[in-house]
Amino acid sequence: MAAETTSPPPADLRDGHTAADAQGAAQGHGSAGTTEAAAHGGESGGLPQFRFEYWGGQIVWLFLIFAVLYVLLAKVFVPKLRRIRDERASTIAAAVAQARSVQAEAESHAAAAQAEIAEARNRSRRVAADAKAKAATDLALSQKAEDARLQAQMDEAEARIRGLRDQAMTNVRGIAVETSQAIVQKLTGQKMTTAEVDAAMTAQGAA
């Protein structure tokens, strides 16, 4: 509506509308009718689009403008956009690769630490076992030594008791002989020699 004041036909709306309908019908019969409608449109002043005196200039300018736009897009903007997209893709890929390698490194670190812990645990277990074994052998040794000492004391004590008993038994015989002599003297008034008594006791089966 830029040039409303200069518009040649001051037709009212209804006229314009019906004219539009007629024009629409004239060109609206599909592709086959177009060329005919176009051929007529030139002189009859139907749709402004079919005034062919304006086609040449529009087509030439369209190709010119399209060519310029194509060259600018194809040579400047598309490569620029493609490059930045490739760059972004490679940046992301590199970052992902780096993150992956860092993760792998961290995993290997973790595995090493795990192994270290396991080894330390094994070592401590071994140390504990060694200490336990040493303590056990020490204990066994000292127990044996003590046992041997106690056994020796017991043996010694037993030997002493046996000696004392034997000695006591010999004393008993002497006392018995003396007693027998005294009894015989008291009863008979005669004296018996020690040898006689001894013989008599042996004959009686005394110990």
Partner: protein, 261 residues
């Protein structure tokens, strides 16, 4: 009120000499409103990408995100339809999409829509089909006939199928041009008609009396204009997208001739 067709009229902006080309006749190279709209659209596209790629950082700014979004949208489209070989056609499809989108959207903000000119849409369609045919002949040579003779079809079917394929191929530039042209033309005519209703019904209501009945009608028309404008934004994007998709599909036919995927 001017006619709803008035918006499509070509008006000279800067007169330039007429060139006479033998065989083609006189070509008026004057800059008119259609050429202005095309220039403005192309300038907008270039300006947008100049800003979007100005810093071109690995971590993008806002404009760069939008620019790269459009880029990868069309890139995925081309790669998806044509396959890995489609990369060399990407700049063409990208240019086509952006140029048409810019012209469509500009038409919603300014007074003139370049894509509502059949000269423009037909040129774009013919250019696309010329690229398809040119590349197809260059790449496939005499094998181009396979485009019209699908493999694995018995000969008696070919008698029927081949003419259909040829007709459909010939009609491709026509449909390509008319689809965009028709959508833009129809949308803008409808917008203009509804907007005209608002004004004329409003004028009727200003007269008072029974004319006051025009107020609800005007309000309804205004609502229609708002709704249609929203729809036209969708159409502006959709038609640019459809044009790009069809260009990819047609290119795919000759790039991957004989083995459909």
């Amino acid at each position: 009120m001017a006619s709803p067709m008035h918006q499509f009229e070509i008006q000279q902006v800067l007169p330039l000499p007429t060139v006479n080309i033998p065989g083609l006749g006189a070509i008026d190279l004057s800059i008119n409103n259609s050429v202005m709209a095309m220039m403005l659209a192309a300038t907008l596209v270039v300006a947008f990408f100049a800003v979007a790629t100005a810093k071109a950082a690995v971590v993008p700014g806002r404009m760069q995100v939008i620019g790269e979004g459009v880029f990868s949208y069309i890139d995925d489209l081309v790669a998806g339809i044509i396959g890995p070989e489609g990369r060399k056609f990407f700049p063409f499809v990208f240019t086509l999409f952006l140029f048409i989108l810019a012209m469509n959207v500009l038409g919603l903000f300014l007074v003139f829509t370049a894509t509502s000119q059949l000269a423009v849409t037909a040129s774009l369609a013919v250019m696309t089909m010329l690229l398809v045919i040119g590349y197809g002949v260059l790449r496939n040579g005499a094998n181009m006939y396979k485009l019209f003779v699908p493999a694995g079809i018995p000969w008696y079917m070919l008698i029927l199928v081949t003419p259909i394929e040829i007709i459909s191929f010939v009609l491709r530039p026509v449909t390509l041009a008319l689809r965009l042209f028709g959508n833009m033309l129809g949308g803008h005519v409808a917008l203009k008609v509804f907007a005209g209703f608002v004004v004329s019904l409003g004028a009727m209501a200003a007269g008072g009396g029974l004319g006051l009945l025009g107020i609800p009608g005007a309000a309804l028309s205004l609502g229609g204009v708002v709704a249609l404008t929203a729809l036209e934004f969708l159409v502006a994007f959709l038609q640019a997208f459809v044009f790009a998709v069809l260009a990819c599909v047609y290119l795919n036919d000759v790039v991957n001739l004989g083995h459909h995927h």
